[in-house]
């Protein structure tokens, strides 16, 4: 399918892979989740009108509402709306026609949507997860939360988040490849628009941070669904979770805030009519923050038993990270001072964001100091500080909505309504959050508070409703604009400088009629075919840009139903998994050695869940197959700036980026093993495998399969179909042999009455080697598909690159085993 239906057709939105359409889908869906999370907040703020609550919510409902509010706002609203802007505007800003992998982009969106549907469903599956958005151990596992129980809904929340992280990972790979390899001729990194810069750094942070979260969620999901003991062990579990979660969690603050910051920079430039003061230093400061964001995570753990030396070090790095932010704040202020400010609605929201961020930043310094944090941790001070930072980001994102609305909709909005919106928003925000500083002694996530704090809480509740109303005004403003607003010109803002304003509002499907180029220092549109006819040289040679073998004039495809198909089938699979726990519990109780402290399992087994799991797996197989065989043409840009990732194709670079993410996922899981073993005492650890020879045997098997994969590539290059088939077949057989040895090994353990719930050593052994085995299974499926393609259409003889891509993945699986073998079998 390649023809894209009109925008008025529902079908268009189900099959589109165009970056602008996907951007709109992201923005609209994120706004829906903003309302969802907002209603939760209004519910518990109303409940907090009196100390002890007014009876609007039960205790557990309050916990669910607070938890869902946090999760929805942080994960399903903040990052996705930024992702929506990035989808729509990054390709436009860098001069690309679309993202590098449009179908993967659509897939990323569908995974996002269905992950949110899982959260919505969780409320009707015995209750959503209720242990707070940070999901601290041991409250996140059933053994220690008999009151909450391991509801199926709780599982749905965790699995929904996992699906969301998978969506983020796909998007991250896509944006990294796009920004690094699809920039218009002459658009070096330094000259990239600052919003695109902020997004580039965001996705780099996402690549590593979300991989750590994925590892944490994998372990948590196995605890909840399969009854492993990662976060239920008597020692070390809560620290393990805190390390994994905050290694992700602190960069997440900047992941959420950077796109907002990028919008602030863009709008300040546009509405002061002045280039950002110290622009290069601002970029360097952002790079520094992105790096430092991975060096401060333990300031969230001052109240745990980690040692004082590391706490002191983290205090220093935390103070250090505020310095680049100071530079950015002063750059914004000086840009205003040096320019001539036009108080339009987007600028007002951006300015408001700056004011709120300064307050949020200063109050955060208190929490960065070990001694002060002992007092403030777990109080409303944290709640207020956190919201001043995060919701200042929301404020800038609203600025982005107003700034780019004319470009997206083709209509101008009413400035009067926009300014009323800002006034109500700003008053509501401060009425909601500032009193929380004054009521700071209130413990967070609890609906009981001291009598004296009642006034502040009531102010806060009133503020919440005023703040909520401001969003209704925002929606009304946009609706009014869409229905009655005058047509927007290409560029409604006098001093906007970025490329999206050089095309019509809204932009055409493929963005440009000519090829955008910055070779002369200004944006120009080049007609390549005309230049060639005139005897001109290829533009890229002169500009040292790389010329790819494909041609610009190839017509790209824009529609595929299979991303949606994969999204639905993956949703069914995950939804089915949410209700598997009772079956695992039943199985465990049937063995001679069921887990100890067997409390709080989900209710009665429901056959619907296993059926859905199986249906999901079958549907995934079918839709992935159809995705794999679909003809979908996405030509690489013929002329583009690709530093520092030139000399490697888009897909190969994408595979490498994915592998970098997988290194962190596996690394975090292996790190969890080392951490727990250190915590237990290195030499006190029980070695689980019954002997080391199966590990050695599998080492030989896997190394041999690596050799056969490389032979497959050699045969593909020689265009030898028989050789290619033989080498791929041998790889497949070796992979199955590996799985056979693994199955034998597991079988011996089961016969000895030792399962994954037997103890932390067993959980770690089964989960880590199981995750590796899962990678082997994925490899087997890919190899089977490739063999089918070789047999049916003589694939990979003309273009052997897919064999190389598969090899990259397979060798990575081998490398992981190089580490796992000594760790589990020898040490």
């Amino acid at each position: 399918m390649s023809d894209l239906p009109p925008m008025t057709s529902v079908k268009r939105w189900l099959v589109t892979t165009n970056h602008k359409d996907v951007g709109i889908l992201y923005i609209v869906t994120a706004l829906f989740f903003l309302l969802f999370g907002g209603v939760m907040a209004l519910a518990f703020r109303a409940h907090l009108w009196e100390a002890g609550g007014i009876g609007l919510l039960s205790g557990n409902e309050f916990n669910q509402a607070v938890t869902a509010h946090g999760l929805l706002m942080v994960f399903w609203f903040l990052s996705p709306i930024a992702s929506g802007f990035a989808n729509y505007f990054v390709p436009l800003q860098i001069g690309a026609k679309d993202l590098a992998f449009p179908r993967m982009n659509a897939l990323s969106y569908w995974f996002y949507l269905f992950s949110g549907v899982l959260i919505a469903f969780s409320f009707f599956q015995g209750g959503a997860y209720a242990g707070g958005w940070t999901m601290y151990a041991p409250l996140n596992v059933p053994t220690y939360t008999p009151a909450m129980e391991a509801t199926t809904g709780g599982n749905a929340t965790i699995l929904g988040l996992m699906l969301f992280v998978i969506s983020i990972t796909i998007g991250t790979v896509n944006f990294l490849v796009t920004i690094h390899r699809s920039r218009a001729e002459g658009l070096g990194l330094w000259n990239m628009p600052i919003f695109t810069w902020s997004w580039l750094l965001t996705v780099w942070m996402m690549l590593f941070a979300f991989a750590a979260l994925l590892a944490a969620l994998l372990l948590l999901a196995t605890d909840r669904v399969f009854l492993t003991q990662y976060f239920a062990a008597e020692q070390g579990s809560s620290l393990l979770w805190a390390h994994l979660f905050w290694f992700f969690g602190h960069p997440e603050v900047y992941i959420v805030f950077f796109p907002a910051l990028g919008i602030m920079f863009e709008t300040f430039q546009t509405f002061t009519g002045r280039r950002l003061v110290g622009r290069k230093w601002v970029i360097i400061a952002m790079v520094l923050v992105a790096v430092q964001s991975f060096l401060v995570w333990m300031h969230h753990m001052y109240l745990t038993t980690i040692n004082l030396e590391i706490k002191t070090l983290m205090m220093a790095t935390t103070i250090g990270i505020s310095l680049p932010f100071d530079l950015m704040v002063f750059a914004l202020i000086y840009t205003m001072v040096k320019g001539r400010v036009r108080f339009t609605t987007p600028f007002l929201f951006s300015l408001g964001a700056l004011v709120l961020f300064i307050l949020g930043g200063i109050t955060g310094v208190f929490l960065g100091a070990v001694v002060l944090d002992y007092e403030f941790r777990g109080t409303y001070w944290v709640v207020a500080h956190f919201h001043y930072v995060m919701v200042s980001g929301v404020t800038a994102l609203v600025a982005g909505l107003y700034y780019w609305w004319p470009k997206i909709s083709g209509k101008m909005y009413s400035e009067t309504l926009g300014k009323i919106n800002f006034a109500v928003y700003f008053v509501g925000f401060n009425l909601l959050y500032f009193p929380q500083f004054l009521a700071w002694e209130t413990p967070r996530r609890v609906f009981h508070f001291a009598e004296g704090a009642e006034f502040y809480h009531q102010l806060s509740t009133v503020g919440a409703f005023v703040f909520g109303a401001s969003f209704l005004i925002m929606f009304a403003t946009f609706a009014h604009s869409y229905l009655y607003g005058p047509r927007a010109p290409d560029n409604p803002w006098e001093y906007s400088r970025t490329a999206e304003w050089a095309v019509p509002s809204p932009p055409p499907l493929e963005n440009w009629t000519g090829r955008p180029s910055y070779r002369t220092g200004n944006l120009e549109f080049v007609e390549d075919s005309k230049a060639a006819t005139d005897g001109g040289v290829a533009q890229g040679e002169a500009a040292a840009a790389e010329v790819a073998s494909t041609h610009e004039e190839d017509h790209p495809d824009h529609a595929s139903i299979w991303p949606l198909g994969i999204g639905i089938s993956t949703f069914l699979f995950f939804f089915g998994l949410t209700g598997i726990t009772p079956y695992i519990a039943e199985f465990a109780q049937g063995t001679e050695t069921p887990p100890e402290g067997f409390v709080g399992m989900a209710g009665e087994p429901n056959i619907v869940y296993p059926i859905l799991t199986v249906v999901g797996i079958v549907a995934m197989g079918y839709t992935l197959f159809k995705f794999g065989v679909e003809q979908f043409d996405v030509p690489e840009m013929a002329v583009a700036e690709r530093w520092p990732f030139g000399g490697v194709g888009n897909t190969k670079f994408g595979v490498w980026v994915f592998l970098a993410s997988d290194v962190v996922v596996f690394g975090a899981v292996i790190g969890a093993f080392i951490f727990m073993r250190l915590h237990t005492g290195w030499s006190d650890w029980t070695t689980v495998p019954f002997a080391s020879w199966p590990g050695l045997l599998n080492t030989y098997v896997l190394l041999t399969s690596s050799f056969t994969v490389i032979l497959a590539l050699v045969f593909a290059e020689r265009q030898s179909k028989k050789g290619l088939l033989g080498a791929m077949g041998a790889t497949l057989l070796l992979a199955l042999t590996f799985m056979g040895v693994k199955a034998y090994e597991y079988g011996v353990k089961f016969q000895q009455g030792e399962f994954w719930w037997t103890g932390i050593e067993y959980s770690i052994y089964f989960v880590t080697t199981g995750l590796h085995a899962l990678h082997v299974i994925f490899g087997v499926l890919i190899a089977l598909f490739m063999i089918y393609r070789i047999v049916s259409v003589d694939a990979y003889l003309e273009d052997h690159r897919p064999v190389e891509f598969f090899g990259l993945y397979w060798h990575f699986v081998d490398i992981v085993w190089v580490i796992l073998f000594p760790l589990f079998y020898l040490m």
Partner: protein, 85 residues
């Protein structure tokens, strides 16, 4: 890309290195075997990544990116491990 002979030699080297790890724990003290195994594992990983994944022939920036990912893992593991000492 390297030729079949080079790939074969590396394959043999990988088998030898893999066996070496096993042998270390049979014949050396635990500490020595631990240190030796780490060295052999690093050598194996470099051989696979460098020659089988052709990292040596890719732009250096790919190696830096993968190195950054490995650094992240070490950062998390070592800092977390140190925090409980």
């Amino acid at each position: 890309m390297a030729n079949v002979r080079t790939y074969s030699l590396i394959y043999v080297a990988l088998l030898v290195l893999g066996t070496g790890k096993f042998a270390f724990f049979e014949f050396l003290t635990y500490e020595m075997a631990l240190a030796g195994t780490i060295v052999l594992a690093v050598a194996k990983i470099l051989l696979i990544a460098g020659y089988y994944q052709h990292l040596l022939e890719e732009p250096r920036s790919i190696s830096y990116m993968m190195g950054l990912a490995v650094f992240m893992v070490f950062l998390l593991t070592i800092a977390a491990g140190y925090s409980i000492q």
